[in-house]
Amino acid sequence: MTETLFIQHFGKEEARKISYYVEKMEGYTALKKAISLSQDEIIGEVKKANLRGRGGAGFPAGIKWGFIPKQSSKPKYFVCNADESEPGTFKDRDLMRYTPHLVLEGIIIGGYAIGSNTGYIYIRGEYTREAGLLQAAIDEAYEKGYLGKNILGSPFSFDITVHRGAGAYICGEETGLLNSLEGKRGEPRVKPPFPAQAGAFGGPTIVNNVETIASIPFIIRRGGDWFAKLGKLEKSGGTRLFGVSGHVKKPGLYELGSGSVTIRELIYDYCGGILDDRKLKAVIPGGSSAPVLTADEIDVVLDIEPLMKVGSMLGSAGIIVVNETFCVVKLLARMIKFYAHESCGQCTPCREGCQWMENIIERIEHGGGEERDLNLLLDIADNINGKTLCALGDAAAGPVMSFVKKFRSDFEQHIRGKKCPNA
């Protein structure tokens, strides 16, 4: 079994103290090592580690850091994206709750690597408790000299501010997050320019997910090569936290080497199988935006490229398992209601299309559907998919297309019977 980095500390109240972090987790030794290295050496190490972004897009973190210009007339920023809002995802919460110092150390190293003196943690508004815990950890770190002026006697100074969001899914999109951080409406920006060129307050900015950042101290301490080997696939290094929810016997967080298990293994070997030993109906493998897989499609390795090959995505690795007792039309209706509600409303296909899809699916669910609605749904989804300003449109279109295509008979039953067959 692969070595785990985080999960052994989860559930321990004492783990969030700096004393625990320093004694039991070699806390802040990576920072000490980092400030003796050059910026390029750190970025090189992160590149070697094959650390892919854990927020959903899976972009290699080292390459992203490398985009930051060395010279900049404006201050640079390092932002931790803790707006964990993808339905089915709950990994960052435990990282912040039990290992906040790991996150802080990662941010400080990241800031040092890109030449920034200011870090932000943008945390979703609902995580009130975690915001408080992070702040307590920040206070401890200032007291010990890991934050503030001249960290550990070096010329490097760094500050971290916790910024609480106000409860918008779209503020997890990195440019929407930056707008919100600046006090503007949380609406994604036109890219380019990418945040690495002009991000927060116009300065070069890195936005990384909590889990991505929490991996940094391990990479610095034990080397990129060691980290890369934790993963079982060539391009995916490290371990991943899989959040399994829904109809399994043992839902929760599982930490496994990247690409080391298939969905079937995760569900049946680790999570104890389907709840009440029912038949499996569907698996959503990467947070609710990921296109759904049927029970026949779960022999796929749970990682970025293998899932992409079967037309889905790993996303934030929040796995939602659905058994035969739950109506997939109702499930899709609930999901699209979420996306229609969370659309920021600036671009046409997402603003108008998500609401339209919600109306149609709700109608079908309650028996008011028509035969032509299914093809209409697919066409609307196609008109949204890939044509919006940010990925929210795709996130809504993907589930609609995959649900209607893969579970078409369920939808047809609703339409022809004029009610939900399970109701």
């Binding site: 036109v190 659309s343 600036q346 046409t348 603003r351 108008e352 008109n383 044509k387 300003l389």
Partner: protein, 473 residues
Amino acid sequence: MPKCIINGKEAEFKPGENIIEVAKRVGIYIPYYCYHPALSIVAQCRMCAVEIEKMPKLQTACSTPATEGMIIKTTTERVKKNQRAIMEFLLLNHPLDCPICDKSGECDLQDFSFQYGDSFMRSSEERRTYVDLDIGGVIKKNMNRCIHCTRCLRFAEGVAEIHEMVAVKRGNNIEISTIDDRPLETDYAGNYADICPTGSLSIKDFRFKKRVWYLKKTPTVCEGCSRGCNMEVHEERGTVYRCVPRVNLEINKYWLCDEGRFNFKYVNSENRLTEPSIKSAQKFDFCDWSTAIEKSREFFQGKKTTVLVGSDLTQEEIKLILDFIPKQISVLSFFHYGTPGVLFSKDDGPADRILKMKSKTSNLYGIEKLGLTGFEKYSPQTGAFLVFRGGRASVPDLGGIPTVGIGVFQKTIIENFKIILPGTTFVEKDGTIFNFEGVEQKFKRAILPPGQSKNLSEIFMLWAHLGAARRAA
């Protein structure tokens, strides 16, 4: 110059220029709603998405700069499908009330719907509706028609430099509003209606007055201040219905202030004197032109006269006055007048950060070129005043000395005026003016003078002709 290829046509571009502008120059029009060349780029409407070789997704032409060798296609099936889709999305909640909408006929949503949309509607859902709100004296908001392009928001922030328009709520319920529903405060509110691609923001003054396709459009220059903004007069059968800005990147860009936009109101005003008039007691009696001119000649006999020329007149008119009047009456001196406190061009300057100038007449700089100085005080020998006015200049205090007015006057001007010879406004004549930067601009007549009003040259011709006839008799 670097080149790209659009629909097989080679197009040169300046580095940084976006595809919409490059395509426009080679005669290829890419439809758009949220883009406006003078506003920040947000790529929200997605209407301008085009295919670019080597890029898997459609790219918005507004936010994508052309690059060397880029191969762009604007009429492929994928592009057309996207345009149809966007039109369908935008019309899902649009009321399609074109028959009662003032924008109809000049509406991007309507035009593009014909050109790029489908004639078939696939939605059977209930439409989203909003309550209409009054947002100040100039603009009426109809949120149901809005397509959320946010041009108005970006105009307020970026051009009018005022934070008054906002988007509230989110997603499908997003609403464009003023802050706390307060009335608009900017002096440039009319532009909101101009840039609005639908009938969502319309000018109250123009609402339900005229279908736009009946309007005849004549390019002209605003006479509201010394900037000389370019605009169009829209009229039908001698009635001016509105003025709209005309693009001139060197003078007013795309904009017009409300003062200039609504300045035309006096042209068709009932209060305007359009008949030759002679004062008796406290009112004006109308008469024919020969009587009025006869009385004027008598009036000026034996009087030393100070002539005041409004700086709202054209170069041609001023030259005519300087040439003709000294031959007819005994002139003490010529002065120009126009704006209280702005006697000379050196007193002029910007009145705000956008367009407005302090001089409220259009030709202050031209009249100074012709050697006239600003009117400060008159000589004690003055026995009479002769005042020329174009319609905009504000007449100074004339100290109770009897006066004859030639030009555009209101019926309520009583004071010391004895005789009024009605002249023409800026929309009823051709002419040349100079703006504060010395730019020479010509404008054309849009309508015929109302009533008995006559051009200055005609008035002078009558004056000379009647004089000659009398001498002959």
